[in-house]
Amino acid sequence: MRKSWLAVFAASTCLAQSPVPYERILNAATEPRNWLTYWGDYSAVRYRELNQINTQNVHDLRVEWMFQTGQPGAFETVPLVVDGIMYFTAANGYAYAVDARSGRQLWMYKYAIPKKAILPNGTVNRGLAILDGSLFMVTPDGHVLALEAKTGRLIWESVMAPNEQSHGATLAPLAVKDKVIVGVTGGEYGVRGFIDAYDAKTGKRAWRFWTVPAKGEPGGDTWLADSWKRGGGAAWMTGTYDPNLNLLYWGIGNPGPDIYGASRKGDNLYTASLVALDADTGKLKWHFQFTPHDQHDWDACETPMLLNLKWKGRDRKVVVEANRNAFFYVLDRETGELLMATPFERQTWAKEIDAKGRPVLNPGAEPTAEGARVCPGLAGGSNWMAPSYNPQTGLFYFAYFEACDVFYLSPPVYIEGKAYWGSMARGMDQEKRWGVLKAIDPATGESKWEFKFFRPSWGGTMATSGGLIFSGDEDGYFMAFDAKTGKNLWRINTGNRLVTAPITFMVDDRQYVTMPSGAALLTFALPNR
């Protein structure tokens, strides 16, 4: 009798819900069993020291469980896993906690989206943040919520901005110290974007960084007349964080209107830029603009990954990014200084990026009324699909589109709550488009291997010490690759397009891999022998 009680106690302690203080997130890489932020840690390397599943046995990987949300629309979440419990969101305002070994539900939360809400990005959601005993999520109409991790009950709700102006939100918040950092969508609706920090305990706003400066502020002179008021600069993806520098790195979206630039002459800071912000105050430390005066919708919302690289014989703290404009950038993350910019695919818009980081433009790349063909196309280049880095190979793994578009332009009329594009882009008829998963040396930009997807694909990547890279394609294949060679070692057709990045974690003695597909959350493991 005593023995069986001990056994029950031992099993339950394995799955005890422990709080997640800031110190735990700081050291997320030291507990690879868990996945504690949208990126897995603060640096966004998306690498895990887990090798139970490896190049030798990955061919045996199989579905362990499926969780059906029943929610239509793109399933873009990245789950969190904390001590055997998985937390994730789905479209339409849902959040769930499930047993990470079985997929059995522990609780469900549903945010009631107001019927009349303007939803600039539909009801898509990319996931949660956790801090202490609270989870944080944003809503399609631009609210921030704190939920009690053990029940899913609402603790507080804050409104980021009036929804009538088309502000929405899709990203997974980032919890840093005692704050929750979020940003808005609406870059296609003429919003003026911002990044906000909220007190994790109370929901009170701690600071706001306007991604588009007002007239008279530094950078305000990069906007014609009052065009800054509708200047876009949505901050729709999660940023990264360097605790030693206490800096947040956040990608800023396209200027508004997207395609039509004549009404907003100037560089249009800080759109299509990376900003480094003081995490305590939201004050700008530096910025780097990838695409000044963007007219191709090339948001800079790709992942700003933080790496420590040997750079010309010297250790350097860098931030690397495969941008939507088809260039791979390496910046010093203390100063924002450009160290390297090199194209990773076919592109027609820039002759080169000069030493200061400014593109030298090719003629003919501006949108016209009759249409101008430009590579990459509107979606990029790379995009928000997460890259990864494996320190064992020293390689950076990312997905991008090989596609060109014809960009048409016409003067748009701003109407509050309506799309504000300034015309559109579309693919060339009968011109092939495809997707690529690529491994490059981030110190040189040199390509080490490539794997071609039949269609441009929105799946992100994840790296493990098992020598594997996981990714997925537009046709629904979830795949594992040899990190060194790019050889495809395993695949499964999941039956729906894959539009987010996988995670891996451990519960007890088993390693799992999770990937959302369609309305289902699929979790894989090796057979239990």
Partner: protein, 252 residues
């Protein structure tokens, strides 16, 4: 009062210009840059199959035409619809919507049968599904497009009828239209209407045909060609609203 009179034409011309911009980026790649037809019907001088009222035109744009390649532009704003209609009206102002056909429909049907067109195409329930179904081709395509498709079929090959030749690892080669393809597999339909399905690791090569799989009928006499065009233009069967089969749609 004068001011108002002046403003109306200005506003209208702005609306037409806006409509032209919407048309260029959303419609022109099918209906042609001048809206006189391409892969999609001529919207300027041909009769409009689904009605000529503003509401009928808006409904077609908003809802698409099920069973055809006309998609639904459901996210257009009311302003977009109004602008597009203004633009189209400005093009067809004073135009008598009718198609001038020199050929003879009955003779054209004979040309169709004698040249073996039914070996690849279907009209109603007759013929093969290897090539595009022609049951409503007269409603779906301009006369110019139909004529060009006969004499130079490679001028425009719809994605759904892209020819592909695969070569297996043991050297066998199969040609057909691409029904579906993804990173790891490809599915073809050959001229005998059989499906061929391959995993790409069984294949040495998957090669897209550079030309249409349809032979060019440039050698037809002028009379035969015009008769054939007249016959094809007369084919205006209903779209398959209740029996929609989305070929090779995969998992989109």
């Amino acid at each position: 009062m004068k001011l108002v009179i002046l403003l109306i034409p200005v506003a209208l011309s702005a609306q037409i210009e806006q409509g032209r911009a919407v048309f260029r980026s959303n419609c022109a790649f099918c209906h042609g840059g001048d809206a006189r037809g391409g892969r999609g019907p001529n919207l300027v001088s041909a009769p409009l199959t689904h009605g000529e009222s503003d509401d009928a035109i808006k409904t077609v744009i908003r809802e698409g035409v099920p069973g055809t390649s006309m998609p639904a532009f459901s996210d257009f704003t009311p302003e977009d619809f109004a602008d597009l209609v203004s633009y189209l009206r400005s093009l067809s102002q004073g135009v008598n919507r009718q198609v001038h056909i020199a050929g003879d429909v009955a003779k054209g049907r004979q040309v169709y049968l004698q040249n073996g067109c039914a070996g690849c195409h279907r009209v109603g329930t007759e013929g093969s599904v290897f090539g595009p179904d022609l049951s409503r081709i007269g409603a779906a395509r301009s006369v110019e497009y139909i004529r060009e498709s006969i004499v130079n079929p490679s001028a425009d090959v719809p994605d759904e009828y892209q020819g592909v030749t695969v070569t297996t690892n043991d050297g066998r080669s199969v040609t057909g239209t691409r029904i579906n393809e993804d990173t790891f597999s490809v599915q073809l339909r050959d001229v005998s209407q059989r499906f061929h399905m391959f995993q790409k690791n069984q294949l040495r090569e998957v090669k897209d045909a550079e030309k249409s799989l349809m032979p060019a009928y440039g050698a037809l006499s002028k009379a035969d060609l015009e008769n054939l065009v007249a016959y094809l233009n007369s084919l205006r069967g209903a779209s398959q609203k209740t029996d929609l089969v989305n070929k090779g749609a995969g998992i989109k």
